[in-house]
């Protein structure tokens, strides 16, 4: 589904991603871990098409399309969803209005007719249950004054509404209390099908108890330096990153 080959990206001339290779197939869950500043959010942004990041080398294909050529909105319409590490606030715009615009533009791109108000609202109701989000929150302006946890929950709610093929969750677990974490993980799991895939960026093994990954990758200095199964996350939890850094410097010296 997603194939990243030798991806290099820079911002304002300074390289951040230094040759990422990653293959993701339908039905898989991949966890990406790594120390602060290693480039996890950058990778997510590059996949979503943020223009500040310049792709200097490599390729990314998604469902056999070169997505590097697509605008951010077209990538979204193709089915890439990013749950932001820091969701932005849009004052005065209700979540309902925002999502209705989003859902209908995605539908238009896919050649589907727009949802009328009744259908849209019933879709909202259905998805609200899935992520146990309060209706009151959705009638407020998008993310404005939302607590950290509420913002994260709202990201997953949007994901549920848009039914993406590839979801990238950038530290969605940070800032969630234990109950909310379970709810969010439960929502993500329910949205999982054999046809879609998920990338979970996290610092904590705990989330991976709920969203069980097929693969775990460690990103360090803009490169995937180690890949493994769920056990790798447990090992990282126990030992931190130093042993990987040591291994690396041992290998290069």
């Amino acid at each position: 589904m997603l194939s990243i080959k030798n991806l290099h990206a820079a911002i304002e001339g300074s390289p951040i991603l230094n040759g990422i290779n990653l293959e993701i197939k339908a039905g898989e869950v991949h966890a990406i871990m790594g120390p602060n500043g290693s480039g996890k959010s950058t990778l997510a942004s590059v996949l979503a098409g943020r223009e500040e990041y310049e792709v200097t080398e490599g390729s990314v294909t998604f469902k056999n399309k070169n997505i590097l050529e697509l605008s951010p909105e077209d990538r979204a319409r193709e089915g890439i969803f990013l749950a932001f590490q820091y969701p932005v606030e849009i004052p005065g715009v209700s979540s309902t209005n925002f999502l209705r615009t989003a859902v209908n533009q995605v539908r238009e791109y896919r050649g589907q007719s727009p949802l009328d108000a009744v259908k849209f609202l019933s879709l909202m109701k259905e998805k609200m249950k899935l992520v146990e989000i309060d209706q009151k929150l959705l009638s407020r302006a998008l993310n404005e004054g939302f607590s950290g946890g509420e913002k994260k929950k709202n990201e997953i709610f949007q994901m549920a509404m848009l039914e993406p093929t590839l979801s990238i969750l950038d530290e969605t677990d940070s800032g969630l209390d234990i109950d909310a974490l379970k709810v969010v993980a439960n929502g993500v799991n329910q949205l999982k099908t054999k046809d879609n895939a998920t990338i979970v960026v996290t610092h904590y093994q705990r989330l991976l108890d709920y969203i069980v990954p097929d693969f775990v990758h460690v990103l360090y200095k803009g490169k995937i330096v180690k890949s493994g199964t769920k056990d790798l996350a447990l090992e990282l939890e126990a030992k931190g990153y130093d042993w990987i850094k040591d291994e690396l410097s041992g290998a290069t010296v």
């Binding site: 098409g49 989003a102 533009q105």
Partner: protein, 481 residues
């Protein structure tokens, strides 16, 4: 950075959609401004002597006045002698009934999307249409007159209701109030008149649609609204003009009189031609609007959505004379390319327990300059008066300017005046967030801007809120890469 610049470039690509003009036979005054022209206009309109005298007195005073320069707007000096002060489409019939209007003129309005056919009209909206210097027709007159509501062109009011006009004309905006108001008093050609008798709640929106068509002609209209005790009216004005390389002057005056317990809601959707992307052409919109809450418990509410004009100079104001009276000002002003707007309000608290509320939302894009100028004045007698002002500026790109000039003058210690101001930028973060959900950048800007202006747009009558939203989006269309 680079994205911002792209935003700006794209922004300039929008075409003004009402920029066409049509040819029709016109009755025109000779070019120039002097006493004879004023006499010419007055006699053309078959006005009574008192009105001619009133005009001439205003002109006399005007000649001693200087053009104001305090506003934060810059434009070459206007050669008032090179303008024409009257141009009217020749009409075969004198009747102001829509059914008698020249079909050619009706077509102009059809093209603007304003159907004057009463059957096709939005239910519950009566319209007076002013083309260049004269009113060409008013809809729903019969329905309104059954209630005693007078809604007609200013000229017609002078003939049909001279006592009312005489009583209120210049009572809120004196003939010599300021440079442009005095000029208007001298040469005004038409406008709308509206009178709501005691105890009547006007059952439909009243609206005037102004259209400048003729070249090189100034438009000077006057609107006078009188709301008697316990009455209510909601009034809306809209306007467009052809796209021309020369600047055109529009200097209107609006006066509102609200008696005891009366309420007047005045909404404007201003879409005069703003000039091209290089700042060539466009309307100079120098307007004086003022209402007086003369009676106790009266209320005047101004709502404006300003998207057009090359230069705007406009401060719809309220004189809160009656005790417990309320003044409101809700404004969204969008400037793009080289547009300049200096707009705001004055709230003059005279009566006890008077309240005013100011909500101003500026949006600047391109190389435009957008200023809020507001004055809150609390006089000695105005115990327990309250004012709340919220002035927000939203910037798109880094080549435009937003300025706030609040003036506060309090002479009564019991007054409570609050002022809040914010400046924000449409963030790339916000646009990207929308993009990531599948929303195009253009729609993202429309969403963000409409969200930002929501408090003001909510004040508009329903039918027009939708129009205004579209207009905001259109003004900023192409604003992102």
């Amino acid at each position: 950075m680079s994205k911002d610049n792209e935003i700006l470039e794209e922004l300039t690509s929008r075409e003004y959609e009402h920029g066409w003009s049509v040819d029709y036979e016109a009755d025109e005054a000779p070019i120039g401004l002097n006493e004879n022209i004023i006499r010419w206009i007055s006699s053309k309109k078959e006005e009574p002597q008192w009105l001619l005298d009133w005009r001439l007195k205003a002109f006399e005073q005007w000649r001693k006045m200087d053009e104001p320069t305090w506003a934060n707007v810059h434009y070459p000096k206007i050669d008032l002698q090179s303008l024409r002060y009257y141009s009217a489409p020749k009409q075969k019939s004198k009747s102001k009934k829509i059914s008698d209007i020249d079909p050619e003129l009706l077509k102009i309005y059809e093209r603007l999307g304003i159907s004057l056919n009463e059957q096709k009209r939005l239910q519950g909206v009566a319209v007076d249409v002013v083309l260049d210097s004269v009113s060409v027709g008013t809809t729903f007159k019969d329905t309104l007159s059954k209630l005693g509501v007078i809604f007609c062109s200013f000229s017609e009011a002078v003939t049909e209701h001279p006592d009312l006009v005489k009583k209120y004309l210049g009572s809120v905006v004196p003939a010599t109030d300021n440079y442009y108001a005095a000029l208007n008093a001298a040469v005004f050609s038409d406008g709308s008149f509206c009178y709501i008798p005691k105890g009547v709640r006007c059952p439909m929106e009243l609206s005037t649609y102004f259209r400048i068509n003729a070249a090189n002609t100034g438009q000077f209209e006057r609107t006078l609204i009188v709301a008697e005790d316990q009455s209510y009216v909601s009034y809306l004005e809209g306007c467009t003009a052809p796209q021309r390389d020369e600047n055109q002057l529009h200097a209107a005056v609006v006066e509102i009189y609200a008696a005891k317990n009366a309420e007047v809601k005045y909404s404007t959707v201003q879409n005069w031609y703003p000039g091209d992307k290089n700042g060539k052409g466009g309307i100079y919109n120098f307007v004086t609007k003022r209402g007086i809450c003369a009676g106790d418990n009266s209320k005047i509410s101004w709502t404006q959505v300003e998207t057009g004009s090359a230069v705007t100079w406009k401060y719809p104001s309220c004189i809160l004379k009656g005790d417990n009276s309320i003044g409101e000002f809700y404004s969204v002003a969008v400037t793009n390319n080289y547009q300049q707007a200096d707009t705001g309000t004055k709230m003059i608290h005279i009566g006890k327990n008077t309240r005013s509320r100011i909500v101003s939302k500026g949006i600047s894009a391109g190389k435009s300059q957008n200023s809020y100028r507001g004055q809150v004045q609390v006089m000695k007698r105005a115990t327990n008066s309250r004012n709340f002002s919220q002035c927000d500026s939203l910037l798109m790109g880094d080549q435009c300017g937003a300025h706030t000039f609040p003036y506060i003058d309090i002479q009564n210690p019991t007054a409570k005046v609050e002022h809040e101001a914010t400046t924000s930028k449409i963030g790339e973060d916000q646009i990207f967030y929308c993009n990531q959900r599948g929303i195009s950048s253009e729609d993202a800007v429309a969403l963000i801007v409409n969200g930002y202006a929501k408090e003001v747009l909510n004040q508009l009558p329903m039918e027009f809120a939708v129009e205004a939203q579209k207009l905001l989006a259109l003004t900023l269309e192409g604003s992102v890469g």
